[in-house]
């Protein structure tokens, strides 16, 4: 049993006497060499492949349509657009270095590789917000908007929850703090993005700024898989280290995600209040529905009342919706069977 408050040692790059297949996620023995065919959790290879298949870059998306439409947005829409853009960019900015930092203390090379891919994707997200900004407003205004995001008291209060946890792991990288960091990473990637997503998809519903929302859709798909990976990471961490799997830590998960839920509601009430067509009460319900999914992904029970997704339009675009898909060319599979539905005499529950 390892002491959950004992700092993890930064592992050596190569440990030739240890096996390639790590003996543990943390505090394990691992040579440092990665052979994907010999890993402790083979499902991680599938996840790695899925993440790579997501590869995209901002420059592939032509912003011309959005540039033209920008002038037709109301002043309020423009203001909120820019504030949400810089706020999301600041969240992604935290995530890139944190993921690479965690790599130093994880002993399983396959997990290190996945953290590296996640860090790369966060860097792409970060760039995409810059790319959107550069298409729409001059540098002087971009900088003002970033300053605004840095100074905004509600943004700061939100970020503080995450920052405190990330910083405390930097100061003293213990298993306990790694666990707490992982939960806050789920908050960041799995809860904090959604008021922003709601805004951009709401514009998309009105056929506005569709190139921006195409990027948002790519970002959401990536973030969903990151949150899924981190939830798997948490489950494995708790299973391998039963001393972390305590009543207090389970309570920590409920309390911390609940805090993020309240902060996301508060942020939505503030940033989306002047947007017609987004019902804030409904959004509150949405955030709880979302958080329930996060709890279940970690293997815990729902914390909020069970409900159906009240805002089903917040979701990743399908290839058909994107109308220009880079992957189509490679992935077009012929379907042998015609699509059938309940009108064919069976029930769809």
């Amino acid at each position: 049993m390892s002491d959950i408050n004992q700092p993890l040692t930064k592992i050596k790059l190569l440990n030739p006497t240890y096996p390639n297949k790590a003996t543990g996620l943390i505090n394990g023995e691992s040579s440092g060499l990665l052979n994907w065919n010999d890993i402790a959790y083979p499902q991680m290879y599938d996840l790695y492949q899925t993440l790579l298949a997501n590869f995209w870059k901002a420059q592939e998306i032509n912003m011309q349509d959005d540039i033209k439409q920008w002038d037709y947005l109301t002043e309020t829409e423009k203001d909120i657009f820019l504030r949400i853009n810089t706020q999301l960019a600041s969240l992604d900015s935290l995530q890139t270095p944190t993921m690479t930092h965690v790599m130093d203390y994880v002993t399983d090379s396959s997990f290190k590789a996945i953290f590296a891919v996640i860090a790369q994707q966060e860097a792409v997200h970060n760039e995409s917000y810059s790319y959107i900004l550069s298409s729409l407003v001059p540098l002087r205004e971009q900088n003002q908007r970033f300053d605004q995001a840095k100074e905004d008291p509600i943004v700061r209060k939100r970020n503080q929850l995450i920052l405190d946890s990330y910083e405390s792991f930097r100061e003293n990288p213990t298993p306990q703090r790694l666990f707490e960091l992982a939960i806050n990473s789920i908050n960041l990637e799995g809860i904090y993005f959604y008021a922003g997503f709601a805004f951009f998809y709401h514009l998309a519903r009105q056929q506005k700024m569709l190139k921006t929302s195409t990027m948002i859709s790519y970002i959401q798909r990536d973030e969903m898989q990151h949150a899924y990976f981190v939830s798997q990471f948490v489950r494995i961490l708790l299973t391998e280290n039963p001393e972390l799997n305590t009543e207090e830590n389970i309570q920590f998960v409920y309390n911390t995600i609940d805090q993020a839920v309240q902060l996301e509601k508060e942020w939505a009430d503030y940033i989306l209040k002047d947007i017609e067509g987004i019902d804030l009460e409904e959004f509150h319900g949405y955030v709880e529905y979302l958080a329930n999914k996060r709890f279940r992904q970690i293997g815990l029970d729902n914390y909020y009342p069970e409900r159906e997704n009240p805002m089903q339009w917040i979701h990743v675009f399908s290839d058909e919706m994107m109308n220009e898909t880079k992957s189509d060319f490679f992935e077009q599979k012929s379907r042998t069977y015609t699509k059938v539905s309940s009108s064919n005499g069976f029930d769809e529950l």
């Binding site: 798909r221 798997q232 999914k293 992904q297 990743v316 069977y337 064919n344």
Partner: protein, 147 residues
């Protein structure tokens, strides 16, 4: 009457769903064999009156690799009279929610007597229990009519 539940699961959601369905069937007086995908070779589809298939979806709503053999078995066996159902878990934020359930559905409709499909978001919740019950009822009533 013989029933089988053939399933695969990566996070445990689909296996939880498979177990609920097995329990509901048992309550209705039918002991179903619960068969993980990697033990599929041990059985013959023709031995059964009811087969329920359970799968998660991968990537862009695709059938996971370990289910492909099972998918093909339904295509090549003569199971026209077999009553089937397909269930699965997934995340509705993706554009093809439980896409593998849909792919199985379209194939099973052609090759078997497909009675019912069921999609559940991640780990089953309270309300899903009633839906599992309906799923079993539909399979059982179909057999009664069909056989």
């Amino acid at each position: 009457m013989k029933a089988a539940i053939i399933y695969t699961s990566v996070t445990g959601n689909t296996s939880a769903l498979a177990e609920i369905i097995q329990e509901k069937m048992e309550v209705k007086g039918l002991a179903a064999d619960l068969i993980p995908a990697d033990e599929f070779q041990k059985i013959h589809l023709n031995e059964y009156d009811i087969v329920a298939v359970g799968t998660y979806s991968w990537d862009n709503g695709e059938i996971p690799l370990e289910m492909e053999e099972i998918y093909e078995a339904f295509e090549s066996a003569n199971v026209k009279g077999l009553t089937t159902g397909v269930f699965g878990t997934g995340d509705s934020f993706y554009p093809y929610y439980c896409g593998a359930v849909d792919l199985f559905r379209d194939m099973l409709y052609v090759h078997t007597n497909l009675a019912v499909t069921l999609k559940v978001e991640l780990t089953p919740q309270e309300e899903d229990l009633a839906r599992c019950e309906k799923f079993c009822d539909r399979l059982l009533s179909e057999v009664a009519v069909f056989s």
